[in-house]
Structure formats: structure tokens, C-alpha cells
Amino acid sequence: MSADLRYSDTERALASALADLLAAQSGWKDVLARTEAGESYDAGLWRAVASGVGCAGLLIPEPLGGAGASYRELATAAEQFGAFVAPVPYLGSAAVATTALLSAAESTVNTPAGSGASADLLRRMAGGGTTAALAAEFAASAGSGFPGSLRLAALRPGDESAGVARLRGTVRSAADALPADVLLVPADGVPQGLYLVDGTAPGVHRVPVSSLDMTRQLCDITLDDAPGRLIVSGEAAARAVEDALAAGAAILAAEQLGLAQRCLDMTVGYVKERRQFARPVGSFQAIKHRLADLWVSVTQARAVSRYAAACLASGDEDTPVAVALAKAYCSEVATHAAEECVQLHGGIGFTWEHPAHLYLKRAKAASVAFGTAGAHRSALASLASIAPP
């Protein structure tokens, strides 16, 4: 096996710079306050991680103004976003939408490299000034087919000459779409394609929904004859959506790893301090063994998360297996870690004033996003030739 499962020096440096920034600007109290203030995304923090650490354009090639890094670096950053339950649209924009656009740009063979609508948009996204989101349910997973809830509608006079298509339909519970400047809309019809829709265009309605994970606000999107521009169609559009959902699952797995590690650290710190029966509760073996087991699962999660990022980065043919393994495994480890975090903090862990619930909600929601553990294990049935009865 050639995949390097360790962290490079660059990755380590990126992680520590991002951790410092998030610790300074996105403490859990700020995150919690924001969920109640009706301003669920932290635009200032996003600007800071985009300009300070270059997180918005990690995947975007240098000629387009990005960092020209890979999924390995993006995954490393994702671990930190998970550790801080940071309310920024990095997943939807820097991972999912960026992957869809890169995939689309690769398929548009007739346009010279660096030109075309996808490249233009990527150029604007590289610095974080513009964000984009895929108009798809957060629960959608790669391999479940082209989303069918948005369709082409009848054209209006003048559309044809302006190169505009009309899009119609509803998508429920989309992630990172609320603050997005541009929506990438997979629409059924002739041609089936991926369209760019300006968030401010007439006929675009986004309604925030009360989300299980209030640190990653979801919204329902309704398009009512909204104008869109085709960037890629047919097979290539389907591929762009698939690639985007697969990348989303792998990067989310890294986020889950970071979240699990943070929950473990928080809990270990607490049980060392908290005393009952005249000794630290962390000296009771029942608790030590649970935390030892959790640490063991985190070591496993780290290996598989690194593997998925490495496979995506090198375009390895094992990528579908790696992504399914990572999302299946890390989903369970993260939820387990967050649940242990609540339990081993006792009553205080059950309160609103303690960060444990932010992690629990992020972990549980993430375990459904881009396909549950079960869905990804089912995908392994065909990927690994373990045929059902």
C-alpha cells in the first residue's frame, strides 16, 4: 500500500495554525450564543479562516488563486473544525461545492483550462469572499443516484438568447446553503445537468430550519422558476454530484475524528479533576476502561480517515471503499465519543451551559449526513464482493 497515513509537516502546521485561530475566535460559548442569536453562521470567523489560514481555497488550484493543496490538507483542517464545532460553511463550500466545480471543470473539455463558469466561480471562492453550496439534502450519499427533486421548468421569453434555464422544486435540509452566494443545482430534465444559481436571484427561497445540529444550520431551498446557468450536463453532471458527495463524506469523517478526539480529551480532563468518594472519578476502573476503549477507537478512526483523504488526494481506485469505510467508522466513533462525554460529565454534561451538547448534536447529525454508517456498510457489500443473501 502506498498511501501515507501519517501527517506531513505542512499538515501539522496547518492544523496548529487553525487550532490557534479557532481557539481565539470561536470558543464554545460564542458558538452556543450564536445558535440562539439567529445568526447561525459566523461570517467574521469564515473571513478569518479564509484569509488567515487559507482554508476556503485549499482544494482550488494555484492558477485560480487557491492553495493548490489536496484532500489531505482539507481533511486535516476538517479535524479542527470538528474539534471546535465551528459554525463556518467550510464543508459545504470548500469541500462539497468545490469538488463539484473541479469535477465539472475537468469535464468541460471544450473550454481552455482556467476559463468557463466553473473556473470563474472557483476563482471567486478561493479567497473565501464567495461561498457556494450544493443544493442537495444533507442526508444524500454518493451512490444513491442523481437527486430528482429539482427539475427544469419552461423557459421564459428571452431566456434562450440569454443562456438561462429555469429551475423549479424543493430540497429539504441542505447544509451550508443558507449563507451561500451561489447554489449548485442538480436538476433533472433535458439536459439533466448541474446549474449555477445566484442566491439573490428572483425565485430563490431559502428558509432556515430548526436543526438538530444548530452549529451547522440547515435550510429548505425552494426554486420557483429561478434562473440558472448550465455548467455541465449528462454523465458529467452526475459524476460531479457523485464526486462532491463522496468528498463530503470523507471530509466529514475527518471532522468526526476531530470531534471524537476533542470529546475524549475533554472527558479525560474532567474525570481527572472531578472527585467523588474522596478520589478522582477517573481513578475508577469502570471509567478508565471506557475511556481506554474510546481512545482505541479514535486510533482506528484516525487511520481510516487518513486513508480516505489520501485516496481522494491521489485519485486512488480504492477511493469508494476508503470513503465508505471512513464514513461508516468515524460516524459511530464520533457519536459514541460525544455520548460518553455527556455521560462521564454527569449532570453538568446534561446542561445547556456545558459544551457537551454541541458536540453531541453535531456528532449525531453528522452520522446521518452524506449517508449513515449502515448505508456505507451496505455500499461495501458490492464494493468488496460480499453479496447479500
Binding site: 481513578s283 475511556l291 484516525r302
Partner: protein
Amino acid sequence: MLDDGVLSEETLTGDEIRERVRAFLTAHDPRTMPRQDFLNARWDAGLAWVHYPPGYGGLGVPRALQAAADEEFARAGAPDNAPERNPIGLGMAAPTILAFGSGEQKSRWLRALWTGEEIWCQLFSEPGAGSDLAGLATRAVKDGDSWAVSGQKVWTSVAHHAKWGLLLARTDPGVPKHQGLSYFACDMTAPGVEVRPLRQLTGEAEFNEVFLTDARIPDADRIGQTGEGWRVAQTTLMNERVAIGGARALPRESGMISPAVTLWRSRPELRTPVLHDRLLRLWADAEVARLAGERLRQQLAAGEPGPEGSAAKLVFARLNQEISAFEVELAGADGLRYDDWAMKRPETSNLYGRGPGFRYLRARGNSIEGGTSEILRNIIAERVLGLPAEPRADKDVPWKDVPR
């Protein structure tokens, strides 16, 4: 931690290692040379374990280069040192001797150890001291230039083939238990050393009881200082866990999952939805564990050992048990049969051989041998996570005064 070779002045590339092996093979034709002579020559040329120091079978180059040498020898059809016959020697004795042995001891033991001429076993556990190894009672009393050793060891794997045993014995009962131990190489063929087979629940006897009755061990065979035995033993145990748990480059579907998926694929009539679900989970867990082993290997090769080795052994035990349990159920009616209960003393311990029933039963030992899973969790909790130790009654009391 694992020995990682003292870097010599020259650092070689994989290609240069391959070239050396090819040059060696030109001078030593494996088809005409007797096996033992060939292996001795390979050791003398520093091509046995390349990360070991020059003079002790290596070249002092990074461990990662070993694969290149092994591949080149395998390609030429050269005999290997049958590592499966000497797991304790290669996995545990060698790194301990390298770390704590004198120059004379290294020269005397390492070559025959590596070639497999001399098998090593581990004389640690006793009837009264398993998990609480430091509480052991076997006594070694200094008598001139040698030690007189008496006591009983138990569950001693491969002792019946072994020339040497790694022996932990009490040399001073008057100090707290960890401080009064010393570490020896015990000649298993010496008078006063008696090895009796101990049958295990699989029917066969991989392990033994070893009775030591006034056995004489020359002081020259003591490893490390008198009273330093516990520290030396830590090196052995750490290496044991890594050796059992992983840190090897293995292909997908190796180990216990292999017979299970093979059975699944070849017998469609055995499949049910519930078993399918379980197999997918086990397959995924096994693959993740393999990746974690690979990551551990990469860290060791890069000289950045982490504490992940103890995780690997825990996961290995749990998965072997769950997968083999699954396989017995998948086999259904065939799972009710057992291949052979006859008492035998096998040459090697093959966890994945024979039938599902054997695999299931043998896997129960995986969470006991080399430190139980409970003890490993204690170690992770205290040494990795830094959680406080439980109150203890035996730590600062002289060993002879500990209530038993």
C-alpha cells in the same frame, strides 16, 4: 519502544540494499549452500535485519528498508529463517537483548536466534503471578559466579522447542516487588529445568509448565543489572504487544476475516440478512484495524513510534474473537463439528489454521496472552491518558510482606 537501529554513517537507499542482496546472492548460491550456512552468511553480511547495528546482523539503516531486502531474497527463492517458528525470539528476545545485553551477549545469542537455530521462550508467568507479573515468586540466589534458581513458570509457549528462556526471577524479596527482580537468559537444556506439556482448551498443548529446581544460571547470562529486571521486562512486554497486535504490512482480507469471507462467498446457501449485516461490520472493522496497523508500521519506520501499539493488540483480540464466533454460526451444521481433540504439541501456533471451531476456541486466548485486555486498558488509561492509578496495597511494601 521498538529498537529502531542506530543510524550508521552511510544511509542506503532501497535500491542500494537490493544491489547488496544481489551481490550477496551471487557469492552465496542458495540452491547449493546448506540452509544454515546460507542464513549464517546472510547474518554476517548485515542483511538479516538491516535496522540492527553492523556486527549484529544489520547495517544500521532505517527499518523501512527491510522489506526491500526480504523481497530480493524471496525473489531468488532463498530460504528464510522460518520466523513463525521463533516468534518470541524474534519479536521479544532480540529487541530486549539489543537494548540491554552486553556486547558479548549480543554476539553470543543474536545470530543463532535470527537463523532459528536457537528458539527462545518466555519464562514470565507463574501460577501465582500473571497480570501481577511483578509479584512473581521464582527465586534466584547468587552462588559464586552463578545463580541458583527455583520456582515454577506456567503457560510457557514453545518451551518444548526452546534452547533459551527469558527468565524473570526474584533476586531480592526484601524490597518492594518491582525493585527486587532480575532478568536472565535461562538455558532450557540445563539440569534442573523441566518442561511438561500443559494441555489447553483447544485439545493441544502450545504451552507448558516449567519447573525450575536449583537450576544453575551463570551470572554471564544475566541481562541488565541485578534488580533492574522489571525495566528490562517492560521492553520485552512492549515488543510482545506490537508483535501480537500488528505493525505489519498485510494485504486486505488477511488474518481471521479471510476464512470467514471465503466461506461466505463459496456457500451462498448459508447466507441470511442478519449474518450479512454482521459480516459487513466485521469486514469493515477488520479493514480499519489493518489500516491502523499499517499506520503504526509507517510511524515506526519513520522513527516516530506512538502509543498506538497497545490499541492494536486490544483490537486484534476483539476482532479475532468476534469474527471466529461469526464464522462458527455461519458454518451452521458444520460449525457443530470439531476437527480433532487429540493432544499434540504443535511446532508453531497458527491462529488461523484448522477449522472454525478451532479458530473460535484459540481466539479466546488472544485477550489473555501477552497481557489481558483488562490490563491493557489499565495501561492505556494510566500511561496514555494519564488517568490516576487506583489505590494499591502492594506498591511500597517489601515483597515478602505483601499479603497473599
